[in-house]
């Protein structure tokens, strides 16, 4: 399946250059796209269309059964062969995947890039939590939080790592309808504020609409 989107060629965002993903020798997905800073590119398609595999490829976790051709550029740098921890691509999954052995605050502190005194780091982490109204939950066990609270911690955590692009792999699909809109709004607001090139993978039309960016539809 091939999808194409106009490219500016400026290279400030996330560039997916002639990406071709194969499962074994069977082609799964072709894509050539550029996502501008602050822009959300939505990728829609049924399960099995290779959406999540693309997310794995960009974040650096392509399973062995798959191969990926083409180049991935972020802010003008080729990150195609960089290990995941050097790509600076943040990911939000369907499950929040908070670290269960850390407190809420520790989850955020863990994500903050190294540097600064412990006091400064705490101040920064708490400020990030405060921005999503979670400051008073900083010492809590993440397992005791509600679904919406967990989603917000996950967002804060990924932002704390100062990513230069964001991948959203159906991050809202497990939330209740009312909560879903609120969290979605929060995420997109941060994407815009931080001018993050963002790829949203979803099978839900309302997510795509709320993202407000270009939409690519894959068929299986």
């Amino acid at each position: 399946m091939t999808a194409q989107i106009n490219k500016t060629g400026a290279g400030a965002g996330l560039v997916l250059e002639n990406i071709e993903i194969f499962h074994g020798s069977a082609p799964l997905l072709c894509l050539d796209a550029e996502i501008l800073p602050g822009q959300v590119l939505t990728l829609m398609g049924p399960s099995g269309s290779g959406k999540s595999t693309l997310v794995s490829a960009i974040s650096g976790f392509l399973p062995r059964a798959f191969t990926c051709k083409g180049r991935i550029l972020l802010g003008g740098n080729d990150i195609t062969i960089l290990p995941p921890d050097q790509r600076r691509v943040g990911v939000l999954f369907q499950d929040t995947l908070l670290f269960p052995h850390f407190s809420v605050l520790e989850n955020v502190l863990y994500a903050l890039p190294p540097g600064g005194s412990m006091q400064e780091r705490r101040r920064e982490a708490l400020a990030l939590l405060a921005a999503v109204s979670l400051r008073n939950l900083a010492q809590r066990d993440p397992d005791t939080l509600s679904g919406g609270q967990k989603a917000r911690v996950a967002l804060v955590r990924v932002l704390a790592s100062r990513p230069r692009a964001l991948l959203l792999d159906e991050p809202f699909s497990k939330l209740d309808a009312d909560l879903r809109a609120a969290v979605r709004q929060l995420v997109f607001a941060e994407v815009a504020r931080r001018a993050l090139p963002t790829l949203l993978v979803t099978h839900d039309r309302s997510d795509a609409d709320a993202a407000g960016g270009p939409i690519l539809v894959l068929d299986s």
């Binding site: 290990p83 943040g90 990911v91 269960p100 863990y110 005791t144 990513p163």
Partner: protein, 561 residues
């Protein structure tokens, strides 16, 4: 570094076994230049089969091994089938846990103190019911048929098989039993035909390990087994320790015969597997519903309760005997109590106990490091280990110890390595590594690696993620695997004895050195300490994660972590 781990593990596990078995094979064929024997031939095997009563020894090893595995597996699966998800089941599960930590030798001693004619059970009903004022002259322990030894093996294999079965259970579709129930099958029969086949596939290797152990046990045989003649493995040990040089070559041939007996027992087991499958399939195809399973359930429940009860009561008796002064038959309780044995043994307990502790700590820690490295290597390389690898990991548990430890001890002797602490640790690791690996592999592989991916995208490298995320989150299974490895090391008798050259006495070799004389006060002390050490480690392994993660709900026992 990490990529060399599989090679290191193969060397660790297989090199000693291969070298030991090879040296035994050559000696058995008559090639042992050290003893000036250089004629290849089958004379040594002829010597083995000329030994008086040898066929009885062989038969003992064979049938005790086969029946011990069949009976303990039967009790375990029937009990699980009949009682899973009941209150009684949870009760037994809780009671059986400490039994897993009890070394074979200690369990055997406890059973001895219970069932001997002068033992607690006869005292319990004497003289009121029996009229016995002196112990009856009954041939209960050391019986030529090996029934006492069989009992000693069964009560120790039940907890082991119970745990491996329970570990396999979550990976099996247990709902199938409900479907079978809805089709009108009895509880036990329904579970057996719908759930058990999938479980059995997973526990097959552990069952083989039980057979291999039971056919070649030395410690249980020394305590409860027949003496005139003893089972084959004990005879091989006797030949091995004989000052007559020629008998050492006979011992080598005997060790290979032992290997053959174990293989023959396994072959019989395969045949038994097929037979049972055939019968079960026929019954199932005829639509037999097995509704009247109350008696089966009752028997299984009673057997497992009895077996757990015997071990726990045996341990209590070890405790009582260790503080006993005089205890005349048929008195139920000691006539006098004393701490004299403890204070007399204090220094020696400390010495042999701390040596056993150091060896077990080293063997379990080093094995754990290797296992973590192996598992992490599998994860990083995205390697799925093959069936062949599984068999290789199991080989140390499938080859009878007597079949290669003797040869190995001679190699170590030539290298000047025997009698050193590190040699003992190294050989313990051959047996500890598989247990640690097999305990940890399932929880390790069941771990949701997406959480590691998240950490990586947050900018953490692969080592950082291992230390800060995976290891702490898996603290509970990691410590549990360590504890099992520790317990396995503490229980090692033959390797400690032969590789340690007697200069590394541990609490276990001491306990068995005392076995023959039957000084119950001393046996009580040593077997008790031998039980307590792994028990304390098991307890710590369960308490430490609970304490460390007391405020982390997802990581509490039974939590989702």
């Amino acid at each position: 570094m990490l990529r060399l781990i599989p090679l290191a593990v193969v060397l660790l596990l297989l090199a000693p076994i291969a070298a030991g078995t090879a040296s035994i094979l050559l000696a058995a064929l008559g090639w042992a230049p050290e003893f000036d024997a250089k004629t290849i031939g089958l004379d040594m095997f002829a010597a083995v089969f000329k030994a008086p009563g040898i066929w009885h020894s062989v038969w003992l090893s064979y049938w005790v091994g086969l029946i011990a595995a069949a009976v303990s597996l039967g009790i375990v699966i029937l009990f699980i089938a009949a009682f899973i998800d009941t209150r009684g089941f949870r009760l037994i599960s809780a009671a059986i846990k400490p039994v897993l930590a009890v070394p074979h030798a200690a369990a055997a001693f406890g059973l001895l103190f219970l069932i001997a004619p002068s033992g607690f059970l006869v005292r319990l009903v004497s003289p009121d019911l029996t009229g016995f004022v002196r112990p009856p002259d009954w041939l209960i322990v050391n019986d030529p048929g090996g029934y006492a030894m069989l009992g000693g093996l069964v009560i120790k294999e039940i907890p082991f098989l119970f745990f491996v079965t329970m570990a396999a259970l979550p990976q099996t579709e247990a709902r199938r039993a409900e479907i079978a129930g809805a089709l009108g099958y009895g509880r036990v029969w329904g579970w057996l035909i719908s759930v058990f086949p999938a479980i059995y596939k997973q526990i097959r290797l552990p069952v083989f390990a039980v057979i291999a152990f039971a056919t070649s046990t030395i410690d249980v045989a020394l305590v409860l087994g027949p003496v005139n003649p003893p089972p084959l493995a004990v005879r091989v040990l006797q030949w091995m320790n004989d000052p007559d040089v020629n008998l050492r070559l006979t011992a080598a041939a005997g060790a290979l015969v032992q290997l053959g007996v174990t293989l023959a027992t396994l072959a019989s087991w395969f045949a038994l597997e097929n037979l049972v499958t055939l019968i079960a399939r026929m019954a199932a195809m005829r639509g037999w519903r097995g509704k009247k399973d109350h008696i089966t359930a009752l028997l299984a429940g009673a057997s497992i309760t009895l077996s757990v009860g015997l071990v726990l009561a045996g341990i209590a008796l070890l405790f009582i005997w260790s503080f006993t002064g005089m205890w005349r038959f048929p008195h139920l309780l000691p006539d006098s109590w004393t701490t004299a044995s403890w204070s007399a043994q204090g220094a020696n307990i400390f010495e042999t106990g701390s040596r056993a502790f150091v060896i077990a700590l080293a063997a379990a820690s080093l094995s754990l490091v290797l296992v973590l490295a192996s598992l992490e290597n599998e994860y990083r390389g995205d390697i799925k280990i093959s069936d062949l690898t599984w068999w290789m990991i199991y080989i140390p548990l499938l080859v009878p110890q007597i079949a290669f430890i003797g040869g190995l001890s001679f190699l170590f002797l030539r290298l000047g390595l025997d009698g050193t602490l590190w040699a003992v640790v190294l050989v313990h690791m051959v047996f500890v590594y598989p247990y640690v690996y097999l305990t940890l592999a399932d929880p390790w592989n069941a771990f949701d690696t997406r959480i590691l991916a998240v950490a990586r995208t947050l900018g953490k490298n692969v080592n950082n993620v291992f230390w800060t995320i995976r290891l702490p989150m898996l603290l509970r299974p990691v410590l549990a695997a360590f504890a099992l490895g520790f317990a396995v090391s503490i229980a090692q008798y033959l390797p400690t004895l032969l590789i340690g050259a007697g200069r590394q006495p541990t609490i276990t070799t001491e306990a068995l050195a005392l076995a023959a004389g039957g000084n119950r006060r001393l046996i009580g002390i040593y077997a008790l300490i031998q039980t307590l050490m792994p028990f304390v480690i098991f307890a710590l392994a369960s308490l430490i994660p609970r304490f460390v993660w007391r405020e982390r709900r997802a990581l509490q026992a039974g939590g989702r972590g």
